[in-house]
Each structure stands twice: as C-alpha cells, then as structure tokens.
C-alpha cells in the first residue's frame, strides 16, 4: 500500500511536467490554431537557459527565471520569423514549419553545448516519512513550482484584460476581430506564455533527469497526448490529462511491464477518446 502511494506521488510529479508541456501545446492550438511541434525543443532551450543562468548567477531560482525568459523570447522570435508570415496559410504549413523550428533549435543547442549530458547541481536529500510513505522534498518543490506556474497562467487567462481577449480570440477569431480586439498583442502574449510554460516544464524535467539536446523532443508525444486527451485547446483539461497520463504510467507498469510504459499513456488516450471523442473537457464545436 505504501509503495502504491509512493508511486502515485511520483506519477503526479511526472504528470505535472507532462501537463505543463501539454498546456503549452493546447494554448497555441487554441489561439494560433496549429499543433506546435517545437514545444519539446522550447523545453530543452529553457533547460539550457536555466543551466547557463544558474552557472552565471550561482542561484537555481535566478537561473530558472533566466531559462523561463529564454523560452518566452525564443517562442516570440519563432512567431515573428516563422509563424506570423504563415498565419493565413493552412495549419499544415505552420505544423510543418514548427517541425523545422524544432530541428533548428535542437541543432543550435547541439552545436553550442555539445551532445554530452548536463545536470543541475542540486542537493540530493534523503526522503522523510509521513505515515510510512517516503516523501521526497525535491518532488514537493517540483510540484510546487508546477502548480504555481499553472496558477499564474490561469490568473492571466481569467483575471486580466489581455487574458479575456485571448479567450475571445480562442473562442471565435472573427468575432473577436470585429469586436475590436487587436490580434497583435494577443499573439505576442500567447507566444510569451506558451514559451515560458514550456521552459518551466523543460527546467523541471532537466532537474529531475538530465539535460541533453534531445531531452525535450522525447517529451513531445506525451505532451500531445495530454493536449488531445484534455480536449484540444482546453488549458485545465491539458493539465489534468497530463497528471492522469503520468499516474497511469507509474501505477500500471509494475503490472504490465516497463517496456510498455509509453504504450500505457496511449491506451488511456484511446479509451477516453472512444468514450468521449471530444476529450475530457472539449466542446463539441471544438472538434474539427
């Protein structure tokens, strides 16, 4: 039983990271209307930014903030140089272009930092026990950062004027436009948030594992799965779906074998979509 609870906790931490990445995918999908395949590599870029920041400032927190800014800036840059010129073409053009952006980011990171793994120098601490369950302080910190990030995003989306405009554009771009909502500010904010959220996911992943140019790309599939499962374009759904995937992977694999870990997340996806094709939270008209 205690090991079950421990796996549950571990699954929630992994799931929050998947959920953050899924949130970045789903935000871009809701407003810019395409699946951004560069999300994974924006994560990696954020992690490298945080590594550089940490070694420059000596503080993990300041380094993390630098990584976050790096992620946001790179997303805005990708928007200005690539996605804005393509915005009146079909979403397929943007999707393909985002794969190109992903390759570009990965290649530049490989060139600059090399392919050897890098790690965040963190204090490794032994766990404390609560009712017999091992709780790892670092996991609590990761979960705290993830939840704080999610809270901030939802505050921006729901309690600020720009957030309201973003939701208006997501709901109906044409109507938003005739109502006098200028798309430019909305798009800049969207890409900044999407980039920053991806960067946070990448930094947390890097702290939990190791940082290499490929690490974010490997997370893209679970992130897409979370976005789809949550109902594409639905922020709360993406986060919740990420947690479900993370927990399902950790809990189910001891029974079905670890080789099928990745398959589990897709099995969950399949089952949910069979029962509920629009995803957990998707609106019916949201399904295209």
């Amino acid at each position: 039983m205690t090991s079950f609870v421990e796996l549950l906790l571990s699954g929630i931490t992994s799931g929050l990271i998947i959920g953050l990445a899924g949130l970045s995918v789903t935000l871009v999908f809701g407003i810019a209307r395409f699946s951004n395949a560069a999300t994974g590599d924006t994560m990696t870029l954020g992690a490298y930014g945080a590594l550089m920041g940490t070694s420059l400032t000596g503080s993990l927190l300041a380094g993390g903030l630098i990584g976050l800014v790096a992620g946001a800036l790179s997303a805005i840059l990708a928007y200005l140089l690539v996605f804005r010129p393509l915005q009146n073409r079909s979403p397929i053009s943007s999707l393909l272009a985002s794969i190109g952006v992903a390759f570009f980011i990965r290649a530049v990171l490989g060139l600059v930092f090399g392919h050897d793994q890098m790690v965040f120098q963190m204090d490794l601490v032994r766990p404390f026990r609560l009712l017999g369950v091992r709780i790892q302080p670092n996991d609590l910190k990761f979960a705290g950062v993830a939840i704080l990030t999610l809270a901030l995003v939802f505050v921006v989306l729901h309690l600020t004027p720009i957030g309201r405009r973003m939701r208006a554009v997501a709901d109906n771009p044409l109507l938003a436009r005739v109502s006098g909502i200028a798309p430019r500010a909305v798009m800049f904010t969207l890409w900044a948030i999407a980039g920053a959220v991806a960067a946070v996911a990448g930094i947390l992943l890097g702290m939990k594992t190791v940082v290499s140019p490929e690490s974010g790309w490997d997370m893209l599939l679970p992130a897409f799965a979370a976005a789809v499962l949550g109902g594409i374009g639905h922020p709360v759904g993406a986060v919740l779906a990420g947690v479900i995937i993370g927990v399902a992977q950790e809990l189910a694999t001891p029974f079905v074998g670890f080789t099928y870990k990745i398959a589990i997340s897709f099995l969950v996806l399949l089952l949910v979509l069979l029962v509920r094709p629009r995803g957990l939270f998707g609106k019916i008209e949201g399904v295209r």
């Binding site: 421990e6 571990s10 050897d116 490794l124 766990p127 594992t209």
Partner: protein, 407 residues
C-alpha cells in the same frame, strides 16, 4: 531534342572515356589497399573516436614504412560516425561507393555497427568493430563471417560482472537493463553466468530510454531486497536512476559498466551518491610489447597515456591484424583470401609476434600468432575476442582500479 553530329560524337567520346576510367583507376591500384577509418569522432563516442582514428592512421603509416603488406600500401579514408546510425550509414556508403575501400575499421557503438554491417556484407568487405551487442556475432549480421569484434561481447561483460559479484560476496543480485541489444546483453550474460554458478537473480527490469522518472522500475527492484544491482546501462539513464535511488534512502551496492560509471557520472551526481560503485571495464593487454608500441604512438599523436583509451588500442590492432592477414595471403590476394587468413595470423600455435615488421619476417618461416595491444587477440568462431576485465571502485569521488578479472 536534336543532336548535331558534333554533339553526338562528343557524347560518344565521353561515354567511351568514362568506360575507361574504372580501368585506369584499377591499374593505379595494384600497389594500394584502401581502408575506411569510420570512428565516433563526435557524439557519445567522442572521447574515444579521435584517438581511434589517429591510431588507425599511425598503424597504417607504420605498416607502409615497413614496406607494406602483401606488396601493397595502405591508403586510409577517415570518416565520422557521429555515434549515430544514420550518419554512420551515409559515411559507410560514401567509403564503399566513392572511395572504394576494401575494409572498414573502428565502428564503436552497437547501434552503429549493426547499421553498417549489412553494407559491408553487401560489398563483401570486412568490418572490424568495438561493439558489444551479441547479435553481431551471428547471422544475419555476421552471416558472411566478415565481422570481427575487438571488444568483449556484452555477454562476456556479463560474465565478468558475475565473477566480480561472487568475489565481493554478494548473495542477492538484481538486474536493470536499458532496452537495447547491448543493455540486455549485459544483464542476460550476467544472469546466465550467475545461475550457472548456482546463484539466483532476485529481480530484473528492462526499462525504456528517455523517461521523466524511473521510480516505478526502481521500486520493483528494491521490493525484492537485493544486496547489489547489476546494470546494462548508459550514462544518462544511470544518472537519473542513481539520483532517484539515492533519494529513496535505501542502502545498496551497484555494479555498472565503465562506459556509464565514469568520471562524468561522478561529476553529475557528486561523490556521496556514487561512493562504493563498482565500475567494470575491459582492459588493454597492458605490459605486452604490442601495448608498449601502441602507447608510444598514442603519446606521440595525442600527448596522453594510451591507458585512457582502450578503443584506440583496438583500432591499432585492427590495422596490424589486417596487414598481417594480407601479408599471409600473399601479393594480389582478394578480400576473401585475406579474410580467410585472419585467424591464422592472430590465433595460437604460431610464433608469437607483437608488431607488423616482426610478423612479416616470421611469416617467411611459418605460422604466427599476433599478441595485440588491446588483448591477446584470439578470434573465436564468431570473430569475437576475450579481453581481460578490471573492477574499479569509486571512493571519495575517485575511480580506482582494484583488481583484474580473467575469464
């Protein structure tokens, strides 16, 4: 399209000329044997690849200086595998189709060798490699018996792990393997050897690469209460697994291959986490005259001791064994005839030799047995060798070799 008479003549002339070209190339060829040095200069094999390539060049130069092998001199074409199968296949295609090499030497990771060997088989030329995957011993990969392995197989690594686990007095080992041919080869080799000694493996896990967490995998292993965990793993996954293990607070020993338990791992995790880990590597034929010759060449080319790069010693031996086989096969021998001489010049019974010039002279009086820099270099029926192993312990952040293991 309309052709004038002049254009027609010109194109006919060109075609005829082109037809002559290969023959021209062949006629220049008589005294040259072209080899490809296909090494991991960048990527995960980067720390070893440059040294390997330089040793292939240095050994080829030495053979040429001794008058060449079988009347021919080596010409070396160097390429980088980037330690990636895709890049390696492109480079191998170029070496075979454009440079027309007659042997490829020095591929390193199993993934790369498994990707390249179909091409060398197709071209009918040998591939000398330093990869561990057991699949490289047998058909289809080695169906034509053109593949030679200068490194221990993962299976032999597993046997060495079992010897060390026994010597250290462990009773309840568990295994964790990265899901590829090399990782599983290690732990299966260990399990086979360990159960043959009458032992029991209490738990085993095969895990997937690039996961955000290996907690569930670890939990399964730890639930079986092992006293040591034997891995077939790489640096990145080992880093993640050890970090998660340390944070569970369980006390356990580890036996890990040296390509994962190296100074990078110590740097990534700090001395506390890695304290007491046993790192196992195959070692060169240290103390042999061939090793001394290689070491001198390595010092000259790289400026460091040859002890630090076991793969460069293998690359050195590759050229010398090939040259001796060419010498034994005689002038103008084709690749098949040279291949047939490989075991004859490297395996026991003949006069022991430790460099090319010595071997060339001794071949005039009968059979020879090249004792290499990387191992005594006796190929079994699969083209595999059995080097010696060393167990190193990580203490206070330093990796120190404590004893050797002979299989």
């Amino acid at each position: 399209m309309k052709l004038t008479r002049r254009q027609t003549l010109a194109s006919l002339g060109l075609a005829a000329g082109a037809g002559l070209l290969p023959r021209l190339a062949l006629s220049q060829d008589a005294g040259i044997f072209r080899i490809g040095a296909l090494n991991p200069v960048t990527g995960a094999g980067g720390p070893y690849g440059t040294g390997m390539q330089k040793m292939i060049l240095a050994a080829a130069e030495m053979v040429n200086a001794a008058g060449g092998a079988g009347g021919r001199k080596f010409e070396v074409f160097a390429e980088d595998t980037q330690t990636q199968p895709q890049a390696a296949v492109l480079a191998a295609k170029k070496l075979i189709d454009v440079n027309k090499v007659q042997a490829i030497l020095g591929t390193w990771s199993s993934g790369v060798s498994l990707a390249v060997i179909p091409l060398t088989n197709e071209a009918g030329i040998p591939l000398f490699h330093c990869s561990g995957a057991p699949a490289l011993s047998v058909a289809p990969a080695n169906g034509k018996k053109l593949g030679y392995r200068f490194q221990a197989t993962n299976d032999r690594f597993g046997r060495a792990f079992a010897e060390i686990a026994k010597k250290e007095g462990f009773k309840r080992p568990a295994t964790m393997a990265f899901n590829n041919a090399s990782g599983i080869g290690n732990t299966e080799g260990f399990t086979r050897a360990w159960t043959a000694m009458g032992g029991e493996v209490v738990a085993s896990v095969v895990y997937e690469p690039a996961q955000p967490s290996y907690r569930a995998e670890l939990q399964k292993i730890l639930d079986a209460k092992p006293d040591v965990i034997v891995t077939g793993s790489y640096l990145a996954d080992t880093t993640i697994i050890l970090r998660e293990w340390f944070q569970t607070g369980e006390e356990i020993k580890w036996i890990i291959p040296a390509w994962a338990a190296n100074s990078e791992l110590v740097k990534a995790l700090g001395p506390d986490v890695v304290e007491g880990i046993i790192s196992v590597d195959s070692i060169s034929n240290e103390g042999s005259p061939a090793f001394a010759a290689y070491d001198a060449a390595y010092q000259k080319a790289i400026g460091k001791s040859g002890l630090g790069n076991v793969y460069a010693a293998m690359a050195w031996d590759m050229v010398i064994v090939l040259a001796l086989a060419m010498e034994a096969a005689g002038p103008g021998a084709d690749v098949a005839a040279i291949n047939a001489k490989m075991r004859e010049v490297a395996n026991p019974d003949g006069t022991k030799v430790s460099n090319f010039a010595e071997g060339k002279a001794a071949l005039k009086n009968g059979k020879i047995n090249y004792e290499g820099a990387s191992s005594i270099l006796d190929f079994d029926e699969f083209g595999d060798v059995t080097p010696d192993f060393a167990a190193s312990f990580i203490r206070k952040g330093e990796i120190k070799r404590e004893y050797q293991v002979k299989l």
